[in-house]
């Protein structure tokens, strides 16, 4: 018994009828054929004859479908009524679904391509959404500003205690001015447990009031708790509360030990509060003694303020400028003419996000290009498929289906495809997000908030609809151009004439987009390569580092801390696993910078802003040896460079060149204040330049002082360095062990290899590069596949023509060359457009150049490499179809016609 139903279903083209009508017709026709077949058998016909008899009942299924559609059509193709929009839509969707099911390979390939594009875009958008688009987690965040001192050499400088007090007294446009510093690792002990290193921010008492943050538990700081004798309270973050206190609801009022001092936990902050940074676990009041402030020149505070209601940034900036002039007039020694002193306000959002915004937006743009290429690919797949459906569409047009109806039908199909791609894309994004987040640089704020939420889903939905329409319009356009009459007459499956043109345009567009992306990725790659070859000025290999922060309770005086670090250094020097060891106030590339105004004996500043203001570091003996920083002149610091001996300094080569030029700086003297009685410091050495801030930054002229002689209060928190003889990881452990040997209750923090620190300093660039390279690879792959598909289609379309020509004597080489030429002409057009696009983008997107290092945004070498690569891809994509063309058998090709 044959399955006549399957036969009917496979033969009868979709009729596009509503409801169960189509199924009814299939049923009826099935029964008819069954009956014919059974009757023939009963008459004594053979199986084969019976089948043939049944088959003869319907000689042309397409014609039958046309007849049925005509019979079923509303009488004389009445104009469509809007009231039927919904049922029609349902019908369109059902019809679309069936059409897609009938072409599983096409459907799968298209949906996957779209899933790639939509998935990548959704993932990237969810990052941008969380990091850039969501409002900062403070009340009325737009009124928050950072306030900086600004100097000729330092456009954004820290603030001193007296400045903070003065600003608070005088500014009427700022409703509240809060200050804070980040202290790095401190050891926290709870009731006899092991000490844990926590990250601490010290803040003014009004810090949370200015940010308008309400605690989840307990309270924040009370006014006056930043004054001497009242600072023994702390507020903790949700993370620490859960990690160390098991989310104990009775935590408020508990006493813990911070750096050996008892403090009382008075409150727990709400989840998501992460200011000044996500790393901070614990907030304590900064001692900001109103009556005995630190010197005006001691700039160490960061300041955040809230603009008063009804006031705006411009008014506030104007007022602070006036305040700056007043302060300068009142304190000429602190703000000498030529220091360029003023006060600058920057919106908090810009401070937090300004640096990463361009890179993220660029990546979002890049991923948008990938999505465009995916759309182009699916569009050209649909076009190629449309050729097989020309006749079906023509029948429906001939039967009065109406252009609009056909267009809607095709769009419904595209939207279905896009929806499948969109759903798969969102799932893919969900899977890709952890990978993107793992690659992300540590400084990226609000990373923990990145997730696929309602907003992201809505955007993904819009993207899906948009892509569906974008690639769906091509077949609609194609169908609108089709001449139904001609198609119906032609007996062939019905290729639509001229359809090659839009596909060629798609290949050109795809190639151009891929070119732009690949060029961008190439520029980042070249920048990164240049950064990696950038000489940091020291040798990071084999160096282990850790930060040790000594509690003021047990090391009240600078000398106590200095003695501890000197003992630690010697202990490490004696360690068999170590070749040399040192301590320093802050490591190069660690993100910490300090500067200090300087007076050079005999040097007359040449004008405003010329007062020497070098980078300033305190280091121990062995520092330059440990980091392999070359001593160019004079000597390194020695153990006897302590408080009992004359003060000495070492300067970097660029500092020597800047202020002494060709003269020998050895033996020359400097001091930190013009005031008489300030000690002169003698320069005893010149060392090589070191990248202090970032590999991509220029070197800063640097002044080094021996840590045993300094008086700037770095003493209690220093970084320890040890150069390992063999194993740097062993040295890391060695540092912790020796710290504990000297002081049992002392923990180390930020223990890491110097190499990792250097590598981490490039993490932002690496993140940008990796993502852009990934997107570019996707783009190139999609463009290659797209070119291949279109070329194969073109060759298929021309099979007959090629067959004729080969029959007339055209050689293989000739055919091969011709197809290759046709494909490469498209690629060349795309590349030319791509070059144009790249240059225009490079000129218009200034953000690009801020991401580059050592290459211009129109780097010809990168351009050449990218062109070659894409040409190679195009050759491969054209080669296979071209080869196929040469294998055309003239007789077969002609018979097909």
């Amino acid at each position: 018994m044959r399955d006549w139903r399957a036969h009917v279903k496979s033969k009868l083209p979709p009729l596009g009828l509503r409801g169960s009508r189509e199924a009814d017709i299939v049923d009826e026709l099935t029964q008819e054929l069954e009956q014919c077949y059974a009757t023939a058998l009963a008459r004594g016909a053979s199986e084969e004859e019976a089948v043939r008899a049944a088959m003869e009942e319907v000689p042309d299924w397409t014609a039958l479908a046309g007849e049925i559609a005509a019979a079923e059509a509303p009488v004389a193709a009445a104009p469509e009524r809007p009231a039927r929009l919904l049922p029609d839509l349902r019908q369109d969707l059902r019809y679309g679904l069936r059409a897609l099911r009938k072409a599983p390979a096409f459907t799968l390939l298209s949906a996957l391509t779209l899933a790639l594009g939509i998935g990548a875009t959704t993932a990237m958008f969810s990052v941008v959404n969380a990091v850039l688009l969501k409002p900062l987690p403070f009340a009325r965040p737009e009124a928050l500003v950072r306030v900086w001192t600004s100097w000729a050499n330092y456009p954004l400088g820290s603030v001193s205690d007296p400045e903070l007090h003065d600003w608070r007294d005088r500014a009427s446009t700022l409703a509240g001015i809060a200050a804070y510093t980040q202290k790095g690792g401190s050891s926290l002990t709870t009731g006899g447990g092991e000490p844990e290193t926590v990250s601490v921010a010290a803040t003014s008492a009004n810090f949370f009031e200015v940010l308008e943050v309400r605690p989840a538990l307990g309270r924040t700081f009370l006014p006056g708790e930043d004054q001497p004798g009242k600072t023994g309270v702390v507020v903790i973050g949700q993370g620490l509360w859960r990690r160390m206190f098991g989310a104990d609801p009775g935590i408020v009022g508990r006493t813990v030990s911070l750096q050996g001092e008892p403090v009382t936990v008075v409150g727990v902050l709400p989840a998501g509060f992460a200011y000044p940074s996500a790393e901070v676990d614990l907030w304590q009041p900064a001692p900001l003694d109103r009556h005995q402030p630190r010197p005006r020149g001691s700039h160490y505070l960061r300041v955040v303020a809230r603009i008063a209601p009804q006031r705006d940034l411009r008014e506030a900036a104007g007022e602070m400028e006036v305040v700056a002039r007043q302060l300068q007039a009142e304190n000429p020694e602190a703000y000498p003419t030529g220091s360029g002193f003023t006060v600058r306000l920057r919106p908090l959002r810009e401070e937090m996000l300004g640096r990463i915004e361009p890179a993220l937006l660029l990546l979002l743009g890049a991923v948008g290009l990938v999505l465009s290429i995916a759309c182009a690919n699916v569009a050209s797949l649909m076009l190629a498929r449309g050729t097989g459906r020309g006749r079906e569409i023509a029948i429906r047009t001939a039967l009065g289906a109406g252009r609009a109806r056909i267009a809607r039908q095709l769009l419904a199909e595209s939207l279905l495809l896009a929806t499948a791609g969109g759903i798969a894309g969102v799932l893919a994004a969900q899977l890709a997000l952890p990978v993107i987040l793992a690659l992300a640089p540590p400084g990226l704020p609000r990373l923990s908030e990145v997730r696929i939420d309602g907003v992201v889903l809505v955007v993904a939905g819009l993207l899906t609809a948009l892509t569906g329409v974008a690639f769906g319009l091509f077949p609609v356009w194609q169908s609108a151009r089709a001449d139904a009459n001609q198609l119906l007459k032609s007996g062939r499956s019905g290729a639509i004439g001229g359809a090659r043109r839009p596909q060629k345009m798609l290949v050109v567009a795809e190639t151009a987009l891929a070119m732009v992306l690949l060029f961008g990725a190439g520029l980042l790659l070249r920048s990164f390569a240049k950064l990696l070859h950038e000489e940091p000025g020291f040798e990071a290999k084999q160096v282990a580092t850790a930060v040790v922060s000594l509690p003021a309770a047990r090391y009240p005086k600078h000398e106590d801390a200095a003695r501890f670090f000197e003992r630690l250094r010697r202990s490490l020097e004696e360690s068999p696993g170590t070749t040399s060891a040192a301590v320093c106030s802050n490591l190069p590339l660690s993100g910490w910078v300090n500067d200090n105004l300087l007076t050079i004996e005999g040097y007359v500043p040449r004008g405003p802003g010329d007062r020497p203001d070098p980078e300033y570091r305190e280091v121990s003996p062995g520092y330059f040896r440990t980091l392999h920083i070359p001593v160019l002149k004079g000597r390194e610091f020695a153990e006897q460079d302590d408080a009992q001996h004359p003060p000495v300094a070492i300067i970097s080569q660029s500092l020597a060149l800047k202020y002494w030029g060709t003269e020998d700086p050895l033996g020359r003297r400097i001091r930190f204040s013009e005031e008489p009685g300030t000690k002169w410091i003698t320069i005893v050495g010149v060392v090589g330049d070191v990248k202090q801030t970032a590999l991509s930054d220029p070197v800063l002229p640097t002044l080094y002082l021996p840590h045993l002689q300094s008086g700037f209060g770095f003493g209690s928190m220093m970084t320890v360095l040890a150069r390992a003889a063999v194993d740097a990881h062993a040295s890391l452990a060695d540092i912790s062990r020796r710290v504990r040997e000297l002081d049992r209750g002392q923990a180390v923090s930020e223990a890491r290899l110097m190499e990792d620190l250097v590598s981490e300093s490039l993490s932002a660039q690496r993140f940008n590069l990796r993502l852009l390279a990934l997107f570019a690879a996707l783009a190139v792959a999609l463009a290659g596949v797209g070119t291949f598909g279109v070329m194969r289609y073109i060759v298929e379309q021309r099979t007959a023509e090629i067959g004729v020509r080969m029959a007339l004597g055209a050689g293989h080489g000739q055919v091969l060359g011709e197809v290759l030429r046709e494909g490469l002409a498209l690629a060349a057009a795309g590349l030319a457009l791509g070059i144009l696009g790249s240059v225009v983008l490079a000129r218009t997107i200034s953000a690009l150049s801020s991401l580059l290092h050592g290459v211009t945004a129109t780097d010809p070498l990168t351009l050449a490499a990218v062109l070659l690569l894409l040409l190679g891809v195009a050759v491969v994509a054209c080669w296979v179809p071209a080869r196929k063309a040469t294998r055309v058998d003239p007789t077969v090709a002609l018979r097909g016609e």
Binding site: D24, I25, D27, E28, L29, Q31, E32, L33, Q35, C36, E56, E57, V58, P59, D60, A63, L64, E67, I68, A70, A71, E72, V75
Partner: protein
């Protein structure tokens, strides 16, 4: 089977609706049965392929002259039976009348000629 001198196709086209309506006059029938009745009554002169019969049925149904309904008789599978509607009955009578007039006219013309 008689080899008609006239173009069978053209004749069939003009009379197909009438033929179908006529088979349904005495009782409802399913599609296969309609085709079989026409073949039987015409002694095989007129035969409809499924490919032409069904679109005709659907056209008649769309015009409201016949009405199709799925029926399940005991021991048989369900089939779609068509019956004449009142409008179909009127149409049948009208077509039959004009066909008879036409046939009579043809007969008169041809007889006169042969006379």
């Amino acid at each position: 089977m008689v080899e008609a001198a006239l173009d069978q196709q053209q004749l069939k086209k003009g009379s197909a609706e009438l033929l179908i309506l006529a088979t349904l006059e005495d009782r409802p029938r399913h599609g296969y049965d309609i085709g079989r009745q026409i073949a039987l009554r015409s002694k095989g002169t007129v035969r409809f392929h499924a490919a032409s019969l069904y679109p005709l049925l659907y056209r008649l149904a769309r015009k409201g002259w016949i009405h199709g309904r799925w029926l399940e008789k005991e021991g048989q599978r369900r089939r779609r039976y068509y019956r004449l509607t009142p409008a179909g009955q009127k149409a049948l009578e009208a077509q039959r009348r004009s066909w008879q007039e036409f046939a009579a006219a043809i007969a008169r013309v041809t007889q006169v000629r042969h006379a």
